[in-house]
Amino acid sequence: MLVIKRKVSESILIGDDIEIIISEIDQDKVKIAIDAPLEIKITRKELAETYEFNKIASEKINKTSLSDVKNKLKGSKKEK
């Protein structure tokens, strides 16, 4: 993985037509401006992962597996 240090208002280019600009830094948050062609899909990673998670979670479940999990949860509660 390529790692680059940048200051506020500096940017990086990916290919010829994607520009990523560091617009603001505040403690543990960074505001990024992205300039890219419309056909480039830009998604926050956790959003894409949540879509994927939901898709798998909506599949029909095995009743036995569910009772296993239920029993485990009950068991761990009693220990506390």
């Binding site: 956790e46 998670f53 939901n54 979670a57 909506s58």
Partner: protein, 146 residues
């Protein structure tokens, strides 16, 4: 009214049991109305059953049964959408993937279902906390932290 469910057959529900999702669940925007079903009242595991599509149902888990220190921090827009001022006014449930191998059964702590119990509205929110998106329901090592 009577509705058909995936796992409980045909059941009758009251209008007041229905929770309306604002924006739907990510990937399932067409369906907004759900009910929460449990095998028994003390269960930490429950089903989020779509009222409109009997085949659509999710397994939900009470996050506090798995992760005691769960303290969601929501973007202000989500609080507005859910008509509350503070995170504490909402109830949280997390979506689970139940795998045949119990060690691979996980919950999404990063994107819980936030419910306003008074207005019966809900939203799947992406938290500002850096909670894991796949957290093992059964911890492999005790005392595992996020």
């Amino acid at each position: 009214m009577k509705i058909k469910t995936r796992d409980f057959g045909e059941i009758s529900v009251g209008e007041e049991d229905i929770i309306r999702f604002i924006g739907g669940i990510y990937g399932f925007d067409d369906y907004r109305d759900y009910i929460i079903l449990k095998d028994s009242p003390e269960d930490d595991i429950m089903f989020l059953q779509s009222v409109e599509n009997m085949e659509l149902s999710f397994v939900l888990v009470d996050p506090y049964a798995i992760f005691i220190d769960y303290k969601p921090s929501l973007p202000i827009e989500d609080l507005h959408d859910l008509k509350v001022n503070r995170e504490e006014e909402l109830k949280y449930l997390v979506i689970a993937i139940i795998n045949e191998n119990i060690k691979e059964s996980v919950v999404n702590l990063k994107s819980p279902i936030a419910i306003n119990p008074n207005d019966k509205i809900a939203k799947q929110v992406i938290l500002q906390n850096s909670y894991p998106l796949r957290y093992n329901i059964v911890s492999t090592e005790e005392g595992k932290k996020c």
